[in-house]
């Protein structure tokens, strides 16, 4: 214990006396987070071109309207339709669950009997049938609240446009039927008698799917950007951590330590603890910026959800993953130039793949699959669970488990390299 404490004290003193490293660890990420969150808030609003959204259509109608919606979405290049009926997934709860875990971004639910109801509604609205009791058909759109507003709007307007087309077709069919049945030249009604505003389907309203049913708050750009860039900053400690270690090797103090009866795990522990504390300070400071400073600068307020325990577990897991990766890089690089270049570049690649610089759903499908290899992607999904989907501890356990597994592998490799090099 005394040795570990001595090792932690030594590492802490070295870090605190290295002003450049402190600047890299705190000031730069804070500036970066502020600039990127503010800058990208507006930039994201302009995006949307060339994006393909996976849309699941739950066709419980299994009739003309259902088939028409599926075929209409299938021909729009922005959508990749996954027909829930064909995959046997018609359970709304299961679909919602899929959305909360990010498996689907949007789901369109066409209720049973939609076609019959639409026809009745059309006939009633046009005065071909008695009464006015049939309500407009509610086609529902479930959405992932982590999607950008522009992308959600695109899906809503597309769905409304498709429904208007189907609506027109249903009305035309009714008119055509009436024309076939009439003996005169006209349609059996005067032009002024045709209602001007016939609606068969009700206007589609978006239903964001959240784990906490009481909250349907849409995510702000800060909620999307802050956790991402915070994770990025946490992983950026790979540079000072590996450079410190490589300097130890180059200056010979590591060789001297190896001539002493010291376990590699003790040396690793001596490095983990101070950098772990730094990571937590980084995260807290960035959350404080999101909560207090960002609104003052014209950005959105950061909503951190309702589960501080989830935030703590996820931050701790992400920190171990970042430190483990940093130590592994340190044991493989021979010079500080190598560590700076490789460490920095790999963190940027992790960030890009992890959906931090570019949202995951904007990426082409093959790249979306690749995001699974980035620990930052696991961390970001976890923070979305908490901040946007109001998730709890249970919801972030898979992401935490992935991060801790990654950390264990990296630390074991680092310990092996400590021992053998």
């Amino acid at each position: 214990m005394h040795r570990l404490l001595a090792s932690v004290c030594k590492e802490t003193k070295i870090i605190l006396r290295d002003r450049e490293a402190l600047f890299l660890l705190f000031a730069m990420p804070l500036a970066f987070v502020l600039i990127m969150s503010l800058a990208m808030r507006d930039a994201f609003k302009e995006q949307g071109e060339g994006i393909i959204f996976p849309v699941i259509i739950v066709d419980m109608d299994k009739n003309k309207v259902g088939r028409s919606v599926i075929s209409a979405f299938s021909v729009i290049r922005h959508f990749k339709v996954d027909s829930a009926a064909s995959s046997g997934r018609t359970d709304e709860a299961a679909i919602k669950n899929d959305i909360t875990y990010g498996n689907h971004r949007f789901a369109i639910i066409i209720p049973p009997g939609t076609t019959g109801q639409a026809v009745r509604r059309a006939q009633e609205q046009m005065g071909f049938a008695e009464g006015n009791q049939t309500e407009a058909v509610p086609i529902r759109l479930l959405s992932d609240p982590t999607m950008q507003g522009i992308h959600r709007s695109l899906v809503i307007s597309s769905l409304n446009r498709i429904l208007q087309g189907i609506e027109a077709k249903v009305l035309m069919e009714q008119l055509a039927g009436l024309a076939e049945g009439s003996t005169g030249l006209g349609l059996g009604m005067e032009e002024e008698e045709i209602p001007k505003d016939i609606r068969v389907f009700s206007e589609v309203a978006e239903e964001p799917v959240s784990r906490d049913s009481s909250s349907h708050a849409m995510p702000t750009s800060v909620q999307q950007n802050m956790p991402g860039w915070s994770l990025f900053a946490m992983f950026f400690l790979v540079i000072p951590l590996s450079v410190t270690f490589i300097k130890e090797k180059q200056q010979g103090s590591f060789q001297r330590l190896k001539s002493m009866p010291v376990s590699p795990w003790l040396l690793i522990g001596g490095k983990i603890i101070p950098y772990f504390i730094i990571n937590q300070l980084q995260f807290v400071s960035m959350m404080l910026v999101g909560i207090y400073l960002m609104p003052l600068m014209g950005g959105d307020l950061l909503n951190i959800g309702n589960s501080p325990a989830s935030i703590a577990i996820l931050t701790v897991s992400a920190s171990f993953a970042a430190i483990g990766y940093g130590l592994m890089v340190a044991t493989f690089c021979r010079t500080s130039e190598q560590a700076t270049t490789f460490g920095g570049t790999s963190v940027i690649i992790f960030g890009a793949l992890g959906g931090i610089m570019v949202p995951k759903f904007v990426m082409p499908p093959f790249l979306q699959k690749l995001t699974a290899i980035s620990p930052m992607s696991w961390g970001l999904e976890g923070f979305f669970d908490i901040f946007v989907r109001n998730g709890n501890v249970r919801d972030i356990l898979p992401e935490s488990f992935m991060l801790l597994t990654f950390a264990s592998v990296c630390l074991s490799v680092a310990a092996w390299r400590f021992k053998t090099t």
């Binding site: 001595a6 030594k10 006396r17 103090s253 009866p261 010291v262």
Partner: protein, 316 residues
């Protein structure tokens, strides 16, 4: 070596991955307890590799290595507690103070509390660093750094101290300070293993010497013993003009000369009858109008022994 052996090495080899020849090639060696053992050899001879294996930093490719009667395989932690290492590099944390460096390495060696504090003070005394105890190492001169590096190797009072070229790049004053400290410690019973390519310091300090080249021990003994072991004598001639290669061939053809080698402005000759060789050599140089600036003969230092054994000088 009138005492029990504290280091025993048999058939020790080390080949680095991808290397075409071993860095240490079958060394057999025994070092007595309390010895001041010097390992002399040129750069790249295998000194640091050999020392790294003795200090438990490198795993031998083959061979047996006993420290204080314990096989290094299986007793590494016990052995590490009994040895001290002063590496070739400065091996300090520049942003920590001298006292903080001592405290950290002392803690790693298991010292704590008042025992650690007492040893830090003793080490600062030994290195005469009391006035610099609270200063960061980054502002130290090379000599002060070396002195601190030396006492860090001593902080846990080891039985054996390994020093890998500990005086490289320092001023004569600090060098003599280190020499005196080491002599005192050796007189107090500490076994010292000292590697260097400076033959003068090995001659001055060590009572037991091994010369290493290409990973092998090529000579072993005390200074006098080594000087008397070699039948060949070395003749060195420094000339005002360059000796032409054709003349060197004529010199080689002379009787009494076994080997000759051209240097910058001179010639080195190996002979087992130096008196006759000298006469012949002076005569032929005069005949060819080559002026002699200096002339030496005999085997009065280790460098010449090394030259006689390997055909190269230590500093080449």
């Amino acid at each position: 070596m009138n005492k029990e052996n504290i280091i025993e090495v048999a058939g020790l080899c080390k080949t680095y991955p991808g290397a075409d020849r071993p860095a240490v090639d079958g060394i057999n060696l025994a070092v007595g307890e309390g010895s001041f053992f010097g390992l002399l050899g040129p750069n790249g001879a295998g000194k640091t590799t050999f020392l790294s294996m003795l200090a438990g930093l490198l795993k031998p490719s083959s061979g047996k290595l006993l420290i204080a009667g314990l096989d290094i395989q299986g007793h590494l932690d016990v052995i590490k507690q009994r040895i001290g290492l002063v590496p070739q590099d400065i091996a300090l944390y520049p942003t920590l103070t001298a006292r903080e460096n001592l405290a950290f390495f002392g803690s790693m060696l298991g010292l704590s509390g008042s025992r650690l504090d007492a040893r830090i003070e003793e080490c600062l005394d030994i290195a005469d660093l009391n006035n610099f105890a609270g200063s960061r190492v980054e502002i130290f001169s090379g000599g002060l750094k070396r002195r601190l590096s030396l006492v860090i190797g001593l902080i846990h009072n080891p039985d054996i101290l390994f020093l890998d070229e500990p005086t490289v790049g320092i001023d004569p004053q600090s060098r003599h300070f280190i020499y005196n400290s080491l002599r005192r410690m050796n007189a107090d019973g500490m076994t010292i293993v000292y590697t260097s390519h400076y033959m003068e310091e090995v001659e001055q300090l060590c009572n037991d010497i091994a010369i290493i080249d290409h990973g092998r021990i090529i000579a072993r003994g005390g200074v006098e013993e080594l000087l008397s072991q070699h039948e060949y004598n070395i003749i060195r001639v420094r000339t005002a003009d360059e000796i032409p290669a054709a003349l060197q061939e004529k010199i080689m053809a002379l009787p009494y000369i076994q080997e000759s080698r051209l240097n910058k402005n001179g010639l080195t000759i190996k002979s087992n009858t130096p008196q006759q060789a000298l006469l012949e050599l002076v005569s032929i140089l005069q005949q060819n109008n080559i002026s002699i600036i200096s002339l030496s003969a005999g085997m009065d230092n280790l460098e010449q022994v090394f030259l006689a054994l390997t055909g190269t000088t230590l500093r080449e």
